[in-house]
Amino acid sequence: MEIHVDKDACVGCGLCVKDCPMHVYELQDNVSVAVRPNNCMGCLSCHEICPAQALEHRGIYAARRHYIDIKVCEMLRKVI
């Protein structure tokens, strides 16, 4: 598992540090650093909680997504 933190985007809020149950992240000089990437089980809570969307995971299993609203998708397709 590779975790990349965009240092320019990270605001150093520490939410990922608090939220991760496996203590994958640590704040170093007000920037989040993935110090234990091998402990990551790929829940992606950090993606959801990060206000700056500064995180990127590579080599992760993306779970099936059944919940995407069909009608919203249809509308989006018309717009995009």
């Binding site: 234990r36 089980m41 829940c43 992606l44 959801e48 059944h66 069909i70």
Partner: protein, 187 residues
């Protein structure tokens, strides 16, 4: 309502198909793509049932759904091969849950084995990747870890108990949008 619409409805529900009692469909109909709306309807309905149950029964809702899941686990797993070893039991379990849930055995990097013994407890970490419960909760904007998750808990516990003949317990360690970490405690 116009007569035109009623005729249209009659037309939609009329066919020349000859259907005999012995005609057992071998495939699910319609095609999976057309089932998308049905799936969303079921997810919505399940979410509403769980929300209402929580409103009426409060914390008791968890006990109801856990019990339901456990019964389901015992029911389904009784047709599966009985295994004494945990690894074999988990293999049976993953076959049992196929298509609805997928999970892997997981360990933190500081642990040497997947079967962990700590504070007098023997347990295994399971990471659930695909999960219909999580999909349903996210479809309805409900919190994870509530009564609907308890059905999965019961299901896994019931199935493990049935396969191994040992008592088991499952605990939520963490829930996330892409995976959930659970602890299977063996007694």
């Amino acid at each position: 309502m116009s007569a035109g619409y009623i005729d249209e409805l009659h037309e939609a529900f009329h066919s020349d198909l000859v259907y005999r009692p012995e005609d057992i469909p071998l495939d699910c109909s319609p095609k999976p793509k057309d089932l998308e709306q049905t799936l969303h309807g079921v997810m919505k309905l399940n979410g509403l049932v769980i929300r209402s149950l929580e409103e009426i029964a409060g914390r008791g809702a968890n006990a109801v759904t856990y019990r339901a899941g456990k019964k389901f686990g015992h029911e389904v797993a009784k047709y599966f091969q009985k295994r004494e070893d945990v690894e074999g039991a988990l293999h049976e379990l993953s076959d049992l849950l196929r298509g609805q849930y997928s999970f892997e055995v997981w360990k933190p990097e500081d642990k040497e084995t997947f079967i962990i013994e700590e504070n007098g407890e023997t347990f295994i970490y399971l990471v659930f990747h695909d999960c219909i419960v999580r999909q349903t909760l996210r479809r309805n904007g409900l919190d994870q870890g509530g009564p609907l998750c308890q059905t999965l808990f019961g299901y896994v516990v019931g199935a493990i108990e049935e396969i191994t003949g040992r008592k088991a317990k499952l605990e939520i360690v963490h829930t996330g949008p892409n995976a959930c970490l659970k602890k299977l405690i063996l007694k």
